[in-house]
């Protein structure tokens, strides 16, 4: 069966895309996984200036997941273009994630990277920098999105927070004329050290990822498609197997991203794609046919 899908004019050979962050800039990942087999690759978030990131520990192990506090470490857009961009493979859709603090930051990075990308993902929801996440401020969000739009004709993706009302966030995105939302970033959480009486992380909270949290993201994907039929949704969070990809598609996702699972076992992404193909063969359905099917009453 056909796994391909087209989003805003961009052709994905299959719906499986790597999530921004856990796989860095791809140089290490592509030693294990051929870019030719995945639908797309999302770069780690790039900011105008280099960011050192947070003090260790940056990771806390939790049951069935991970708590991270990387702090958007990245070399800054100029070094990114010089060192990384030349190696970005065109064998899959190239998504570059852009970040920053204000509209100028985002516009600046978008302008510089857009010609190297097929799509631009606007990271409005990093849990690991500053105070509030950007998307909690609707005015700021609108300005950032219109700034990015002015810089490129390539499709933009707005990456939302799972900690806030996704319908309200999607309204802002939709009002800004953006057609694709990514649901979503890692959820805020904390753990405390019972030997010291202190939080494990310097900034107390970090971002939660992994399979434990998939039902939360699934519900939000469903909610957004229920409220905004016209928005294209990328489902993200906790995928470890082809069955999970099916659930996201059924809930409403056109593309499904995988972060933590690919990070701990890069080769598993290939198995997920193969298993997905087999599941669709058994159902005799193209991938496109299952996208959003729960809103149409399920399979018939």
């Amino acid at each position: 069966m056909d796994l391909s899908i087209e989003i805003e004019g961009i052709h994905f050979k299959n719906p499986i895309v790597t999530a921004s962050g856990p796989l860095g800039f791809g140089d290490e990942l592509f030693k294990y996984v051929s870019p030719g087999i995945i639908g797309g690759f999302t770069s780690k978030t790039v900011t105008p200036e280099p960011i050192t990131g947070n003090m260790p520990p940056r990771l806390v192990y939790i049951q069935n997941g991970l708590l991270n506090s990387i702090g958007l470490q990245n070399p800054g857009v100029d070094l990114f273009i010089q060192k990384t961009v030349p190696f970005l493979s065109k064998a899959c859709v190239r998504i570059i994630s852009v970040g920053g603090e204000n509209p100028e930051d985002f516009a600046d990075v978008t302008r510089k990277v857009e010609k190297f990308a097929d799509m631009i993902e606007v990271n409005l929801s990093c849990p690991n920098v500053g105070g509030k996440v950007i998307v909690s401020d609707s005015q700021l969000t609108k300005e950032i999105l219109s700034g990015c739009k002015a810089m490129t004709k390539k499709p933009l993706i707005a990456k939302l927070s799972l900690d806030l009302d996704v319908v309200r966030q999607s309204q802002i995105i939709s009002d800004s004329g953006i057609k694709i939302v990514n649901i979503g970033n890692s959820i805020q959480g904390a753990r405390f050290n019972f030997k010291t009486g202190k939080p494990f992380l310097k900034h107390v909270k970090g971002g939660l990822s992994g399979p434990a949290f998939m039902p939360i993201a699934l519900w939000k994907v469903y909610q957004v498609k229920e409220a905004f039929e016209d928005l294209m949704v990328i489902g993200l969070g906790g995928v470890t197997k082809a069955e999970d990809v099916m659930e996201y598609a059924i809930a409403g996702a056109s593309i499904v991203e995988i972060g933590t699972q690919t990070m701990i076992d890069p080769k598993s992404i290939q198995k997920i794609i193969e298993d997905l193909k087999n599941m669709l063969e058994a159902l005799k359905l193209d991938f496109k046919a299952i996208v959003n099917v729960s809103h149409r009453g399920g399979f018939r």
Partner: protein, 220 residues
């Protein structure tokens, strides 16, 4: 397939697996079972001999409850340590694992082992000609008495700090440990601050020249 040896009071485990590949001192593997933990945990090689790979594991964490199942290892990861001339080896607690493997492969001049308890001391193989201490004396105090200037250490952060402070003339190498997720230099999780900016234990280490590392750059 694999064998488990558990120390007297159950605080330490030796995990032994058949393994036909290679691994060098300084390198580590990640370990998990099919049912968990979700994030594989990094462990240094304690021994590799005749197709048998051994790890020395501190009990009490999430990993332990999965050790009775079929173990899945991935690796080796990290850069091998080259032989260091006239080396003084220093180990603290289960930091003894990579030190033991180093000693097996390259030998050593002197070794000081700091053990939190007799239980661990009785549990591991210790070469004949080496000194050991059990708290409260620390290996740092003994190291000051040694004439050797090249030191390789693996142990608690505080021990490495102590050596750096008290032995400013020595050339100090440390096998560093930070929580890891990818073990492949992708996730930027296992950060240490060096003279050249942030480096990653899994990709750039795990062995670092201590003079180049900012040991204060941590929230502990």
């Amino acid at each position: 397939m694999e064998m488990l040896k558990i120390s007297e009071k159950g605080s330490y485990v030796l995990l032994e697996l058949p393994y036909n590949g290679k691994a060098m001192p300084g390198q580590f593997f990640t370990i998990k079972a099919k049912t968990g933990p979700y994030i594989p945990r990094p462990f240094s090689v304690y021994e590799l001999k005749d197709g048998n790979l051994k790890f020395l594991i501190k009990a009490g964490g999430e990993m332990q409850q999965f050790l009775n199942e079929d173990i899945i290892i991935d690796g080796p990861f990290g850069n091998p340590i080259s032989k260091i001339d006239d080396v003084l080896l220093i180990a603290g607690g289960v930091g003894y694992a990579p030190i033991h493997f180093y000693a097996l492969v390259y030998g050593f001049k002197e070794m000081i082992i700091g053990m939190p308890d007799d239980e661990l001391f009785d549990f591991v193989d210790i070469p004949d000609h080496c000194v050991y201490v059990v708290n409260p004396t620390t290996p740092v105090d003994l190291a000051k008495l040694s004439p050797l200037k090249n030191i390789l250490v693996c142990g608690p952060h505080e021990m490495i700090k102590g050596l750096k402070r008290d032995l400013p003339e020595s050339t100090l190498y440390a096998i560093m440990e930070e929580k890891m997720a990818c073990a492949r230099g992708m996730c930027e999780g296992c950060a240490v601050m060096t003279r050249d900016g942030v480096k990653f234990v899994c990709k750039d280490g795990p062995t670092f020249k201590v003079s180049e590392v900012d040991l204060e750059w941590t929230y502990q």
